[in-house]
């Protein structure tokens, strides 16, 4: 019985802590695109209206868990931060509470797309890989196992 109680107590904070996204403004983008000191930063860009996105987030999360020292993962919803509750719910349902989450805070989302990656037309999911050497690689669509492997 004590064990059950212990488990329930452990569960409580997880339920309470659905990852609430923070605002991503135009002026925040330079920091996100800055090369990491080592390894790679992966921007996992997704949208509420994208049926392919959640499994892509989960695949990237699994990769990050396998390589916690080399890979920094940030999720970015292209939906408005005004929808933070819906975004947080969806992230929670996908088991994505543990990673920093951002959502667009700009009246012109396509401008944010352009500032993140001018060679991206807004299709989702979009994965942007930023390496310590300053190189960027953008990939559209759900990543295949071989593309996932190529990240590290």
């Amino acid at each position: 019985m004590k064990r059950i109680l212990f488990l329930l107590v452990l569960t409580l904070p997880v339920l309470a802590q659905a990852a609430s996204p923070t605002a991503l403004r135009a002026e925040d983008i330079a920091t996100l695109l800055k090369p990491p000191s080592h390894g790679v930063r992966v921007l996992a860009i997704w949208a509420l209206d994208c049926a392919y996105c959640e499994s892509n987030l989960q695949a990237l999360a699994k990769l990050q868990q396998a390589h916690p020292q080399q890979l920094e993962l940030v999720t970015i919803a292209t939906d408005s931060i005004d929808q933070r509750e819906v975004i947080a719910k969806r992230l929670h349902a996908a088991g994505m509470d543990a990673w920093p989450a951002r959502a667009y805070a700009d009246a012109t989302p396509e401008r944010i797309n352009y500032l993140i990656d001018p060679n991206w037309g807004g299709e989702t999911p979009r994965t942007l890989i930023i390496r310590a050497d300053g190189s960027h690689l953008g990939m559209s669509g759900e990543l295949t196992p071989s593309k996932l492997k190529s990240i590290l």
Binding site: L5, C50, Y52, Q83, A107
Partner: protein, 390 residues
């Protein structure tokens, strides 16, 4: 101890329930600018958009400088898709009827119903909205497209996931969604049971429609070929009961297991040439122009614009062809145009005809007495912009 557990459970239960989806009902505070416009035979501009759960109809007798007070198309408020590739539509009937359609989000993500209402008194009143499809499953029926054929029949097409759901239930693979169509032969009082036009369409891209010289409706939409190759198909919606057959009409070979949110445009000339625009990003984002030759690669294909260009529309009047699109950059949007005087064999250089630092909807080309205008709904207000060089 049991009491403690009961209290803990009562704390957890609401948190669990809170994760049951009702996403579709959540209102976004972001501006929803999805709108459609049309100019009638008397030169009156009509505009539909959505606000506070109502599709609003306004008109203008001075080419968009001033707009009338709105008429609510749906008297009872309901959720309305009015952003991105979804926007309310307007079309005219043969006897001056006004037809309006839209997609209504349902409770679950990605679901929707296609809705329709009509006015027979010049837009003063509208019929109670009806749901176009007979299928009432809480699944995707959205991204509606509407056109009126030469006989005055209303053709509706939309993206529909019933076949995907059926395949999922059987554990069978099914990429994308399907395109379904329905026709009203009684000026919008009712719609015939829907028919499937094509399996394995893209899930999130608008459908383009235009009337052929024979008075039938041509439909051009993003489909899926092989392993998520997101090219386009063309089909004629026959008026005489012949089966409709969609044929592959672009061959860009863009592979994407994802949502392009980027549908094509279509304009059919009086000589039957099918002028089209579409987007792909196999190597880099590109807007293409071409003349559809279903079953084969388009003729006179031309890369109209590159990165930052999106949501093109196309219009044709005899040998004149216009293409417009939104060009986004670091400081906002430019509305761009390229035109051809020789039936699309050559296009002039791109020209900017408007710009804004705020949000915009997709541009829409409208023809009036041989001139082309662009309906551009922006956060700063609706604009009707001539395409001519000053």
């Amino acid at each position: 101890m049991r009491k403690f557990i009961a209290i803990l459970l009562s704390l957890i239960a609401p948190a669990l329930l809170a994760h049951e989806g009702h996403e579709g009902m959540t209102k976004s505070k972001a501006p929803e600018l999805g709108a459609s416009a049309a100019i009638d035979g008397k030169g009156r501009l009509w505009l539909v958009d959505a606000a506070d759960g109502h599709v609003r109809l306004r008109h203008s007798d001075d080419f968009g400088r001033t707009l009338s007070a709105p008429v609510m198309v749906n008297a009872t408020a309901e959720p309305i898709y009015a952003e991105g590739e979804n926007r309310p539509k307007i079309a005219f009937g043969k006897q001056g009827e006004l037809y309006v359609s839209w997609s209504q989000p349902r409770a679950k993500p990605w679901t929707g119903f296609v809705r329709f209402a009509r006015s027979t008194d010049g837009g003063a009143h509208f019929s109670a909205p009806l749901t176009v499809h007979h299928d009432r499953a809480e699944i995707t029926h959205r991204f509606d497209a509407m056109a009126v054929d030469g006989q005055g029949r209303i053709a509706m097409a939309w993206i529909d996931k019933r076949n995907l759901e059926a395949a999922n239930a059987k554990g069978k693979p099914y990429l994308g969604a399907a395109i379904y169509t329905s026709v009203s032969s009684d000026a919008g009082i009712s719609f015939a049971p829907e028919q499937k036009l094509a399996d394995q369409s893209c899930e999130c891209c608008r459908i383009a429609m235009a009337r052929t010289p024979q008075g039938e409706i041509g439909a051009f939409f993003r489909a899926i070929y092989g392993d998520n190759i997101r090219d386009h198909a063309y089909a004629v919606l026959h008026a005489d009961g012949r089966p409709n057959e969609a044929q592959r009409a672009t061959f860009s070979e863009w592979h994407l297991a994802g949502c392009p949110h980027h549908g094509p445009g279509l304009a059919i000339a009086s000589d039957g040439v099918r002028h089209a625009v579409w987007y792909e990003a196999k190597d880099k984002p590109t807007l293409w122009y071409g003349q559809l030759d279903p079953g084969h690669a388009p003729k006179h294909a031309l890369a109209i614009a590159g990165p930052g260009a999106s949501h093109a529309d196309i219009a044709v009047n005899d040998r004149q062809v216009w293409v417009v699109w939104n060009q986004v950059g670091a400081h906002g949007y430019e509305l761009m145009v390229r035109s051809s005087q020789d039936g699309g064999e050559h296009f002039d250089e791109a020209r900017q005809i408007a710009n804004t630092s705020g949000a915009v909807a997709s541009p829409q080309l409208l023809l009036w007495q041989g001139r082309a205008f662009v309906a551009w709904n922006t956060a700063a207000g609706f604009r009707l912009i001539p395409t001519e060089a000053l």
